[in-house]
């Protein structure tokens, strides 16, 4: 029955048909390059609009987009974004932060273009991301939602790593997202990824998913197949971690294992305003009950609930984790009522003074880690409501002695405030979408930060051997996460690089030191790149068109600079974070300039850049008219705004298959057919 349905669906399809959709990802030591190739056919004689739409991870940066329509190549160009007047409400897109945890999981990249009658259009997109280790694993998500059945659909993910790959999981196709808090629970009915091939070796694995059109229809006839999720981890040891060197750049992955947990002092500050009523407070309570059960014997804790007024469960102290205390806390949580407004300032102040008092009373273990976990579903409405003042008050109250982790639930939250609060105070922000399972996401977030293993981590490299090193001082290292540092080598011919890691554990200071043989590491990294290229070359699957294969080759060439690009990626993210934290406008401008320059150097579509794409216009008769430009920016959805095609720096489209001509020569104005003609009988 399904094949018959497919035939009917295809016959009724009026949009241009996606003939081929090929998504190739190569994850080279956690840095993932993805190349998407999409070929569309307009079967009708009249011109028709083809829409290329793809969900890409919010943490990723698009690095190239190209269209080929009517034989012409329309290449994208990354340009600095022009300054815009700030919206009055002061809210900003979350991607502005550069903090991946603050972003929604996916963003939509969308490009519509007119395809002349009986013609094909090819859309090609590349994006790059650094996979983050959360809860002891890396997760790579590919959205398979072509919005129609596709004749040739191929997803190909190759993972290559210096360390042995462990715990590889290919999950069921996920129909909707439960959230990005590292939780494994998902809503929606999972679908079995049919025709998935997994080839696994020690340091390399390859996953191929290529459902034919009938198999796609069995999953969903509307082309919404779901998310293809791969999880894995790599083997690690107690040492200074994995350092990789390539073309004058290095990357250092630090995630030691088998360390004892550091005791923590945690204050939970929970919003109990009226808007939390119902599902939100119920799920929050559920999560807190579970979290209480997960507290360790050495930990100390307290609860604060806030609405119009602030209520402290155990005033003036933090209590140790004992069965009685846990039982009493559960009772307090169970009885939490919801009413009134949202007094964020007072809640934070109360939480901070509680922790400060506890820390100064010398009750606390000297090496313990202190943190506030703050949860709200709204903006400040009671007491101090100015974000700037709240942030200033918070900084003064915290004094750098502990970290604030913030969680926002739903759409009414001032995420910018939560994000700044976390960034200013060595924490992280996490958003829980309105419809998501808040309970599992909150628990997932707690699991990420619930087991601190090290504090005050400082990573140093031989002086004068490195420059432009990304963040190398970290307040905490949590179990299941990973610290990634990248930089440039000033002396590429140096034999070794001295690496020193100092940190505090539960009862002692730790110093790890080693000399990394640079030449040896470079050869090793080069070999892996070669291996990756060989795998990609061998993986040119028969159904793929020549152009798709060629695109794969382009991806291969990008791999050769993966360490440098990773450094660029991390530096841009860091620049965006520093911009948010900057105290003066001069400092802010410097960070913006630096991050913009890096985005342009590595062709990243970031919050500071626009992607300008020249688009063909098609006349009613199916011919092409002079192209117009369209600018794409980052955000939750694509923001399209036409720009002047003759604007300064406008890059002309290049010609495909140009023979005997100068490829860089601007294309002449496209023609319009007149009626003056001599045609068939």
């Amino acid at each position: 029955r399904v094949p018959r349905q497919v035939k009917t669906i295809l016959a009724k399809e009026t949009r241009p048909l996606i003939q081929e959709l090929s998504i190739k990802t190569t994850i080279m030591s956690r840095y993932a390059f993805t190349a998407v190739y999409c070929a569309m056919l307009n079967r009708r004689s009249a011109a028709s609009e083809g829409v290329f739409q793809l969900q890409i991870p919010a943490n990723a940066y698009v690095s190239n987009f190209t269209m080929i329509i009517g034989g012409r190549v329309y290449q994208s160009e990354i340009r600095p974004r022009e300054k815009k007047v700030k919206p009055e409400d002061g809210r900003a897109k979350n991607k502005e932060s550069g903090d991946p945890s603050a972003e929604p999981e996916m963003e939509v990249f969308k490009m519509a273009a007119n395809i002349p009658g009986r013609n094909r259009a090819v859309f090609m997109l590349t994006y790059e991301e650094l996979l983050q280790r959360r809860l002891g694993r890396y997760e790579h998500v590919t959205s398979l939602r072509p919005l129609q059945l596709v004749s040739r659909l191929t997803l190909d993910v190759t993972i290559i790593d210096h360390s042995a790959i462990t715990g590889l999981e290919v999950l069921l196709l996920r129909n909707s997202r439960g959230g990005g808090a590292g939780t494994s629970r998902t809503s929606g009915r999972p679908q079995l990824p049919v025709t998935t091939e997994i080839k696994k070796e020690k340091n390399m694995c390859r996953i191929t998913f290529s459902p034919n059109i009938v198999q796609q229809a069995r999953i969903a006839t509307n082309g919404l197949l779901g998310d293809f999720v791969i999880r894995y981890d790599v083997q690690r040891d107690m040492g200074i971690g994995d350092i990789q060197v390539l073309n004058g750049h290095f990357v250092h992955y630090f995630a030691p294992k088998d360390l004892p947990a550091v005791p923590k002092n945690v204050v939970f500050v929970i919003d109990t305003s009226a808007s939390m009523l119902g599902k939100k407070i119920r799920q929050t309570k559920e999560a807190l009950f579970t979290i209480l059960g997960d507290l360790r014997p050495g930990d100390h804790f307290n609860f604060i609930s806030f609405s119009n007024r602030v209520k402290v469960w155990q005033p003036g102290r933090l209590v140790p984790v004992t069965p009685n205390n846990v039982r009493d806390a559960k009772k307090f949580i169970f009885m939490l009522p919801t009413s009134g407004g949202t007094n964020i300032n007072s809640a934070i102040q109360t939480g901070s003074s509680l922790l400060q008092d506890y820390l100064s009373a010398q009750d606390a273990s000297p090496n313990s880690v202190s943190l506030i976990i703050f949860l709200t579903d709204g903006q400040p409405t009671v007491g101090e409501v100015q974000s700037v003042t709240i942030l200033g008050n918070t900084r003064s109250a915290v004094q750098g002695k502990f970290c604030i982790f913030t969680i926002g639930i739903g759409n009414d939250v001032d995420y910018r405030l939560l994000e700044r609060m976390a960034l200013d105070n060595c924490g992280m922000m996490r958003r829980i979408p309105e419809e998501a399972d808040a309970s599992s996401m909150l628990k997932g977030f707690y699991d990420e930060i619930g087991t601190p293993l090290l504090s005050d981590i400082r990573i140093n490299y031989t002086k004068d051997s490195v420059q432009y090193v990304t963040q190398h001082l970290f307040t905490n290292y949590f179990n299941g996460s990973e610290i990634v540092i990248a930089g440039k080598l000033t002396n590429q011919s140096a034999e070794s690089l001295h690496v020193q890691v100092t940190a505090s554990n539960s009862d002692k200071s730790i110093i790890l030191e080693t000399d990394v043989p640079l030449q040896h590491r470079e050869v090793e990294t080069e070999n892996r790149v070669k291996a990756a290229r060989a795998v990609m070359a061998a993986g040119a699957r028969p159904p793929g068109s020549a152009l798709a294969k060629e695109f794969g080759v382009v991806l291969g060439s990008i791999l050769e600079d993966f360490v440098e690009r990773l450094w660029g990626f991390l530096s841009v993210k860091e620049g965006l974070r520093s911009r948010l934290r900057s105290q003066t406008s001069r400092e802010r401008e410097d960070h913006i300039q630096q991050a913009t320059n890096l985005s342009l150097t590595y062709n990243f579509l970031t919050p500071l850049t626009n992607m300008v794409v020249e688009k063909p216009s098609v006349l009613a008769d199916g011919t092409t008219a002079p192209p117009t430009n369209e600018a794409i920016s980052t955000g939750n959805e694509v923001l399209s705004e036409p720009v002047d095609p003759a604007g300064p720096g406008g890059r002309p489209p290049t010609l495909s298959n140009t023979v005997g001509g100068d490829e860089k020569r601007p294309v002449k104005k496209s023609v319009t057919i007149s009626k003056t003609s001599a045609d068939g009988d």
Binding site: G117, N657, K675, T676, G680, D681
Partner: protein
């Protein structure tokens, strides 16, 4: 083939048929001296559809564009391939999309749909590829010739289409008298051509255009007679 001529200044469209014989080469555009461009089209025949009392059909099987400046290039377009003969010979299949650009001259094929020949940025011709998957006996793969841009062609341009590029025309009603039927005449180049209103499909049937139709192989509409536009071979560039 049927011809359509648009007179934008007069806001009029005129059409006519040139039946011709299979093997005839018709001069479509001739501007050899000024812009160096000449276009010829070769006819093939096909039997009329069954039940029709019409005579055989004719189609363009090959269209050649000869460009003289800056160097002589011959472009030969058939429904299956495009041959570029200049310093080198390039044969391009029509089933793939390709653009050949050599500065002044550009040939662009949109797979199975059309071929655009552009000369110097202000002359362009679009040749539609009419291909049949399962042709009936009266159907032949053939070509349609459309003028895209003609600004670069001179006022001396001639040929079955070229001669009208810079002309203005007017319509007049024939006086009714005696047994003569009332009718419309087209005033062109000082001549009066009886015309009737018709409709023609263009762009491969995608659009329909209302036009004033001149009978008898465009007698009196075109300079001379249709026989004057027959050329001896496809690459003939002799002037009118």
């Amino acid at each position: 083939p049927h011809f359509v001529v648009e007179f934008p200044l007069s806001k009029l469209t005129v059409c006519f048929n040139i039946n011709g014989e299979p093997g005839h080469v018709l001069r479509l555009v001739s501007d050899h001296k000024a812009s160096g461009v000449t276009v010829n089209g070769k006819l093939i025949g096909a039997p009329p559809p069954p039940g029709s009392h019409k005579h055989q059909r004719t189609y363009f099987s090959t269209i050649t564009v000869v460009v003289d400046h800056p160097k002589r290039v011959y472009i030969e377009v058939t429904p299956k391939k495009v041959i570029l003969d200049g310093r080198d010979r390039i044969v391009l299949p029509c089933h793939s999309t390709v653009t050949v650009d050599s500065g002044v001259l550009s040939v662009s094929i949109v797979a199975g749909t059309n071929v655009t020949v552009s000369v110097g940025g202000n002359i362009s011709f679009v040749i539609l590829l009419h291909q049949y998957k399962n042709p009936a006996p009266y159907q032949r793969d053939h070509l349609g010739f459309y003028i895209g841009q003609s600004k670069g062609l001179s006022h001396d341009c001639h040929g079955l289409l070229g001669q009208f590029l810079y002309e203005e025309v007017g319509l007049a009603q024939l006086p009714v008298g005696g047994e003569a039927k009332p009718g419309t005449v087209l005033k062109v180049k000082g001549r009066s051509v009886p015309v009737v209103q018709k409709s023609r499909r263009i762009y491969g049937g995608a659009q329909s255009v209302d036009c004033w139709f001149a009978r008898n192989n465009a007698a009196k509409l075109i300079d001379g007679q249709y026989g004057d536009y027959l050329r001896s071979h496809m690459f003939d560039t002799s002037e009118w």
